[in-house]
């Protein structure tokens, strides 16, 4: 017994140390867990606590590393880097720390150039001077989404949500951790990751994209993260986001449009729906833009089906259950009282019952095309490659050449010939309409354009051409509405703002007029080169 006591006394300090070490690891783990479910404030408290408690070098390194991650999640790039460096100094060559530091330093190149604008619930960041025009429009939409989507999902973030607009493709690929190929192939232009929303500036795409819907879409993801504690699988995440993305502008949430209808109809016909399992780990990892869009159509309609059949509250209930059970199949069963396969099959059955049609014949989903700096052609023939029919392309080219030489009527003749080969091409129809507008055939032009609003709602030229028609015809309200839609796709087209200024003037809306004037002046300014902020070695008050 004496021996036992002696031995126990001898090992007591070691046992105590082991216990302490184990407690500290648990502390760090809890911090990481908070971060993974985007409970950043909680994680921050844990990190501060860990920094106080850390005694050994290992602990200190771990605490600094956690603190660094927390700062990153808060969007403080500089602090994140500096804490990371401290961790690295204490414990050099730790794979996790080095990798994180490397990522931070790369993402900081843009992160340090960000300028901020705040709304009540959002912090909007941009880097390129021209991207400052997005702030006003984005702020309005996000605040509306805050209430509308928040209401649907019964979630409102306590902290301001960071929204970052990336000035180029490279910086976006770094920040999003997506590859360039992923982005171009699947057309992913926004992500909700690391407790923030990140989008590519619509300035980078020749035609722009539905960037305001994208913001709402990503915000939905944000809410789903918060509400579910990061337990929702990607397909359901995307489904809910797709279902909610237009909520800021439409009371009625409908996922199906002619484009999705065509994709779904074809997939049902060819029995080529994307399996749910294939949507992991991300829709951005799917093989093609077509597959990605079909997947969006599928998951959006699944959520639509759920809400329609089991009521508006089913969505909130599903997320709550997911948080508790961390299993979508169980959650679906609890909400719908059917197994997931049955639920899935009933969705397919519902789709089939809708008698979907291929509204856009020969629809193809093109990969994203970004504007290139440096060697680039300034002519407008780039989009001719999107015309698959060679004859349609040839006649359109002829039309373009004639139009460029002022032979508007002859150009019309050629565009119409092109239409014989590709009757619903938004490229040809918009060229035809703009030519007709040029020599005063407004009604005929409008007739050509109207169907495109439904078939190709993202095609900005349609809105601009329609805007011109309404403006010429003196229908100011419709013109304003159309140009506003154009802004939601690509606000960098100066024509939109040039048109809106007199519209607001005539409508007696001086504030809006002034705002548009400001936007226009920014767009017409020469590109200002952005200098990255110099990273100072300022001390961090711990």
């Amino acid at each position: 017994v004496r021996s036992l006591i002696i031995i126990t006394l001898f090992f007591l300090p070691f046992i105590s140390a082991l216990t302490e070490e184990s407690d500290f690891s648990a502390l760090l783990k809890s911090g990481k867990d908070y971060l993974s479910s985007w409970q950043v404030q909680e994680a921050s408290k844990v990190a501060d606590n860990a920094l106080e408690l850390a005694k050994s070098a290992n602990d200190k390194a771990g605490a600094y590393f956690l603190k660094s991650q927390v700062e990153f999640y808060k969007g403080n790039y500089r602090k994140a880097r500096q804490f990371g460096k401290k961790a690295d100094e204490i414990l050099p060559n730790q794979k996790g720390i080095v990798g994180f530091l490397d990522y931070i330093s790369r993402v900081s190149k843009t992160g340090n150039t960000f300028k901020e604008a705040k709304t009540e619930h959002f912090i909007l960041r941009y880097s390129h001077p021209q991207d400052s025009i997005l702030v006003g429009y984005a702020g309005d939409v996000l605040e509306r989404a805050y209430f509308e989507i928040g209401l649907d999902l019964e979630t409102y973030p306590h902290e301001p949500v960071i929204v970052e607009v990336y000035p180029d493709l490279e910086s976006f690929t770094i920040a999003s951790t997506l590859s360039k190929k992923d982005i171009e192939t699947t057309g992913i232009v926004g992500v909700c990751k690391f407790n923030r929303i990140m989008i590519i500036s619509p300035r980078l795409l020749p035609q722009g994209y539905m960037w305001l819907d994208t913001l709402a879409h990503e915000y939905t993801h944000y809410l789903v993260f918060l509400k579910s504690g990061n337990t929702v699988p990607v397909w359901l995440h995307e489904g809910i986001a797709k279902f909610e993305e237009k909520r800021w502008r439409e009371k009625k949430r409908s996922v199906i449009n002619p484009f999705y209808e065509t994709l779904l109809a074809r997939a049902l016909k060819e029995n080529s729906l994307i399996p749910i399992e294939k949507m992991h780990p991300s829709l951005a990892k799917l093989g093609s833009a077509y597959e990605a869009q079909l997947a969006f159509a599928q998951v959006g309609t699944i959520v639509d089906f759920l809400v329609k059949k089991w009521g508006p509250s089913s969505l909130g209930n599903l997320l709550n259950t997911m948080r508790e059970k961390n299993d979508y199949k169980i959650a679906i069963r609890e909400i719908t009282k059917t197994t997931f396969p049955d639920f899935y099959n009933s969705w397919v059955k519902d789709l089939r019952s809708r008698n979907l049609k291929e509204r856009i014949p020969g629809v193809k989903v093109k990969e994203l095309r970004f504007k290139q700096d440096g060697a680039k052609s300034e002519d407008e023939s780039k989009d001719l490659v999107d015309l698959d029919n060679i004859r349609a392309r040839d006649y359109t080219r002829l039309g373009d050449m004639l139009k460029a030489r002022g032979r508007l009527r002859a150009a019309t003749y050629e565009y119409e010939k092109a239409l014989h080969f590709d009757p619903v091409s938004p490229i040809i129809l918009n060229r035809l309409a703009s030519t007709q507008i040029a020599y005063g055939k407004y009604d005929k032009a409008k007739e050509k354009l109207t169907p495109l609003l439904e078939l190709y709602p993202e095609y900005i030229d349609t809105y601009i051409n329609l805007g011109r028609i309404y403006l010429e015809k003196g229908n100011l309200n419709k013109a304003e509405e159309t140009y506003r839609k154009a802004i939601s796709i690509n606000p960098f087209n100066p024509e939109i703002h040039t048109a809106l200024i007199p519209i607001y003037e005539r409508l007696g809306l001086p504030d809006s007029e002034e705002s548009e004037k400001k936007v226009l002046s920014i767009l017409l300014e020469e590109d200002v080169k952005i200098k990255p902020r110099i990273d100072t070695n300022e001390e961090i008050s711990e």
């Binding site: 060697a375 001719l384 030489r405 032979r407 019309t412 003749y413 050629e414």
Partner: protein, 927 residues
């Protein structure tokens, strides 16, 4: 006594004396000179009176005496003359009366004072006198005491005398002048004249002249021949002469050989001179004979063609230079020399062995060997050398020809500009055709501008032709006709320009040539129709307009596609050039790393500047690439790092700082980017070319596949026929009944479809099957020939293809007949011939396919592709434009000739009666 006064007095008097003496001497010189000139002049003048030695001697002595006298009297006397105090005193008196005497007294008194003699006056008085005289002399102007310098006052007569005497001296008889200035007092004794008779001169001309030796006698003895001629002088002196010399005045002396009373000597003519013969004592001398040395003249050479101020030629071109050259004795060598900024270069035209005196020739000058800057004017001349071995070869230089090497790139750019022009003009025509040309409601209006146009509004079926305003329509179409003519003329000029453009390939050329012909056909129809336009022929006009619109659309697209491809290719060329410059820069940097010398550093600076310019041009070219080509055929990622200006600056800075390794590293990065870009351009260019030619390639592939299939079938059929033959040979008894059997079986063919005969199990069945199959193959071949005729518009297939297929068809028909006529062996022979013909046709088609594929890769001479609407090739003048020979790549140097032949072939069409001949030929084969 003041010593100062004494010194002043002495100094004054001494100065006075010196000045006076100087004037005396100067005057003496002047007077002596005058005497000298006068003596010489007078003597020279008097020498003209008599030309006699004694007289000359008298004159010379007189002149010498006069000169000597003058010298002594005037000059020597003046030099030796001493100043007399009394005379000076006298002179001083003339200045101031009594001064001379006072001075004289002062001098005397001083002299006595110094000699310490007893003086009759006190020293003080003497001193006072001296002081007074010195003071007076000092205060007075003593210049009147100095005599006047005559030369100053009389220089004019003196100069005149000099000039006159010199003139007279010059004009004096030659003998007198030389005698006057000789040392002898008496004139030399002149030798006695040696008279010579029977002078004979033999000339031996230099070998190179090729002139035979010549003997001349009965002459006065003067010699005249080309330099280097050996002259043999022979004569008979009229007095006895044992020994003597032939003396060349400005040269050497040659001893005479005397034989049998005749003297002989040889000398070589070196220059014009004189010679005489004299005896050894020199007492007898012949007259001086004249030597006239004739010079070998320089060759004359002239370039007769090409002519003109500046001849523009392609850098790889060969030009024919026609020349003529003459020389008096012979030409040995002709050289072409030319000057560029890099210096003078030359090339031997001809090494002539036989040294003709006249040459006319042609020299083909290959300009590819010339290194010059584009657009530099090169001056070329021909140098002709003669065969002169005496003075050395002399040369003549021709008139210059000025050559300007065309910048092939600029030429190509001109072609592209011309293509754009045609494109613009055709677009204008198309615009007019659509807007003003078509039959539509617009023509119902009174004013052309009231048209309401748009395809959706057009419904030709509904147009009431009777309501159409013919006048307005005619006017509109006349305008269109003139625009088409203009475009056609531009197209013609473009084709001419392309002929000498190395960068344009045959694809474009043929396409444009065909385009021209098609437009000409339409224009021909238009010219026929429009002047007589009436309501009745409106439907014809309607058809013409439709075809014209289709044609112009296709033409414009063809031109547009050509321009797009060319822009892509230009970028590629610039990219490759830039890469090569980067490699050079890299080598220079490596060199700098090794030796670090200043010259290399300067070269690097220069190279970087070159690169900067080139990259800027490249960026410009890339910017001109059409957007759809850029998007459709290039990889945009490859062009992200095209702006390297900053990096080049950095390389320059690093080089200046000596950080060569870093500079090389940076350069490596740029090179990699550029290589990526070039790879993208190359692949884009090939894809674009392939896409442009894909229609033609797939048609050809399809035809070749059909030919292969027919060939295979025919080969298989021949084997079956062989088997049939074998089976018949094994069963000769049945042979006799074969015809009957076949005939019978043919009637029963339908019923026997499933019988064992049709399965080929008997020789009769086999034969029938073979006949049937042969007919089918023949039919397939006929179909193929028909299709090929249809494709003629788009594919310029060699006529051999069609001919061989027709030939094959003929042999197949023969084989069928043979089989039906029991002639199995003949059938096999015909089948073999058919297979051979098929093979030939296929090989021809495969050759064409290969050319297309090369063209699609942007290599070698391509073949035309025509975006035509398949209109008939038979133009209104019976032109057959179906085929043009395409040379293989290795023959592409003869581009211009080829293109000219091509155009001619397209224009000329088939010779008269060719079609009929062809028809008969096939009929003969078939028979």
């Amino acid at each position: 006594m003041k010593s100062g006064s004494k010194e002043i007095l002495e100094r004054l008097l001494s100065d006075l004396e010196k000045r006076r003496k100087r004037v005396w001497i100067a005057n003496g010189v002047g007077e002596f000179s005058f005497v000298l000139f006068a003596s010489l002049g007078i003597a020279s003048l008097l020498a003209h009176i008599h030309s006699n030695n004694v007289y000359f001697s008298i004159l010379k002595i007189s002149a010498l005496l006069a000169v000597c006298l003058g010298f002594v009297r005037l000059l020597l006397f003046a030099v030796l003359k001493k100043e007399k105090k009394t005379r000076l005193a006298k002179e001083l008196d003339s200045v101031s009366p009594g001064l001379g005497e006072d001075t004289l007294n002062a001098l005397l008194l001083l002299e006595e004072t110094e000699s310490e003699k007893e003086l009759g006056a006190s020293k003080s008085l003497i001193q006072a006198h001296v002081d007074r005289v010195a003071l007076k002399l000092e205060s007075l102007d003593l210049s009147p005491v100095i005599p006047k310098e005559k030369i100053k006052n009389h220089w004019k007569p003196l100069a005149f005398a000099l000039a006159l005497s010199l003139t007279l001296l010059m004009l004096a008889p030659e003998g007198f002048r030389s005698f006057l200035f000789s040392a002898s007092i008496l004139p030399p004794q002149r030798p006695h004249l040696l008279e010579l008779a029977d002078i004979k001169i033999n000339y031996r001309y230099p070998d190179y002249t090729g002139i035979a030796p010549q003997e001349v006698d009965g002459i006065i003895g003067d010699v005249k021949a080309i330099k280097g001629t050996i002259v043999s002088f022979e004569a008979t002196p009229l007095r006895s002469l044992d020994k003597g010399n032939l003396v060349i005045e400005k040269g050497h002396t040659i001893p005479l050989s005397v034989e049998k009373g005749r003297i002989k000597a040889e000398f070589t003519i070196i220059s014009s001179d004189g010679f005489f013969i004299e005896d050894k004592s020199g007492r007898f001398r012949s007259r001086v004979f004249k030597i006239t040395s004739e010079e070998d003249k320089n060759p004359k050479v002239a370039i007769t063609a090409p002519t003109g101020d500046v001849i523009e030629v392609d850098e790889k071109e060969k030009i024919d230079i026609y020349y003529t050259a003459q020389d008096d004795f012979g030409l040995t060598k002709l050289i072409l020399t030319w000057k560029t900024k890099n210096g003078e270069s030359s090339r031997s035209i001809d090494q002539i062995k036989e040294a003709p005196t006249s040459i006319e020739g042609r020299f083909v000058w290959d300009l590819s060997v010339i290194e010059s800057d584009p657009d530099e004017i090169i001056e070329a001349r021909i140098k002709a050398y003669d065969n002169d071995t005496v003075s050395g070869p002399k040369f003549g230089v021709s008139n210059p020809i000025k050559i300007k090497l065309k910048n092939p790139r600029r030429k190509h750019e001109d072609v592209l500009v011309a293509v754009e022009k045609v494109l613009d003009e055709l677009l204008d025509v198309l615009g007019d055709e659509v807007e003003k040309g078509r039959l539509q409601d617009g023509y119902l209006a009174r004013n052309q501008n009231d048209f309401s146009i748009g395809a959706e509004e057009q419904n030709l079926n509904r147009i009431d032709y009777t309501k159409i305003n013919i006048g307005i329509m005619k006017k509109a179409h006349e305008g269109i006709t003139s625009k088409i003519e203009k475009a056609l003329s531009s197209l013609g000029r473009l084709l001419e320009t392309i002929k000498s453009d190395d960068f344009s390939d045959y694809t474009s050329f043929l396409g444009l040539s065909n385009m021209k012909i098609r437009i000409e056909d339409l224009l021909y129809e238009r010219r026929d129709l429009i002047p007589t336009l009436s309501l009745s022929n409106l439907p014809r006009l309607d058809g013409l307009i439709t075809r014209e619109i289709n044609e112009f659309e296709d033409d414009i697209l063809f031109l547009d596609s050509t321009l797009k491809g060319e822009r892509l290719r230009e970028s590629l060329v610039y990219g490759k050039e830039a890469l090569s410059k980067y490699n050079e820069l890299s080598e220079l940097l490596e060199k700098l790393k090794q030796n670090g010398d200043e010259a290399t550093r300067r070269k690097i600076e220069k190279k970087i500047e070159e690169l900067r310019g080139l990259m800027s041009q490249l960026a410009e070219k890339l910017g001109s690439i059409s957007g759809d080509v850029y998007e459709g055929f290039l990889n945009p990622d490859a062009f992200e790092s095209i702006d390297v200006s900053g990096k080049l600056d950095e390389i320059m800075n690093l080089t200046e700082q000596g950080k060569i390794a870093e500079a090389l590293n940076l350069l490596g990065g740029i090179k990699n980017s550029l290589q990526g870009m070039i790879a993208s351009l190359e692949s884009g260019f090939q894809s674009f070319s392939s896409a442009s030619l894909s229609k033609e390639i797939s048609k050809l592939n399809e035809m070749i596949a059909r030919m292969k299939s027919i060939e295979k079938e025919e080969t298989s059929l021949r084997r079956k026929t062989e088997d049939l033959k074998q089976s018949l040979l094994k069963a000769p008894a049945k042979k006799e009944k074969l015809a009957d059997f076949v005939e019978r079986e043919r009637k029963k063919i339908e019923e026997l479809k499933n019988s064992r005969f049709l399965k080929g199990e008997t020789s009769e069945g086999q034969s029938h099957q073979i006949v049937k199959r042969q007919e089918q193959i023949e039919e397939e071949t006929g179909e193929l020939v028909k299709d090929i005729t249809e494709y003629e518009d788009d594919l310029p297939l060699h006529p051999n293809v069609g001919e061989k297929l027709n030939e094959s068809k003929g042999f197949m028909q023969g084989a069928s007949r043979n089989l039906r006529g029991k002639e199995v062996s003949k059938a096999i022979s015909n089948q073999e011939e058919a297979i051979k013909a098929l093979k030939k046709a296929r090989e021809e088609a495969e050759g064409l396919l290969e050319k297309y594929q090369l063209s699609a890769k942007g290599m070698g001479p391509s073949v035309p592709f025509v975006l035509g609407s398949g209109q008939p090739r038979q133009g209104p003048r019976g032109v057959d434009t179906g085929y043009v020979e395409i040379p293989p790549p290795q023959e592409s140097e003869t581009g211009k000739e080829f293109k000219e032949n091509l155009l001619k072939a397209i224009r000329d069409g088939s010779p008269e009666g060719y079609s009929e001949l062809n028809k008969r030929y096939y009929e003969r084969i078939v028979k």
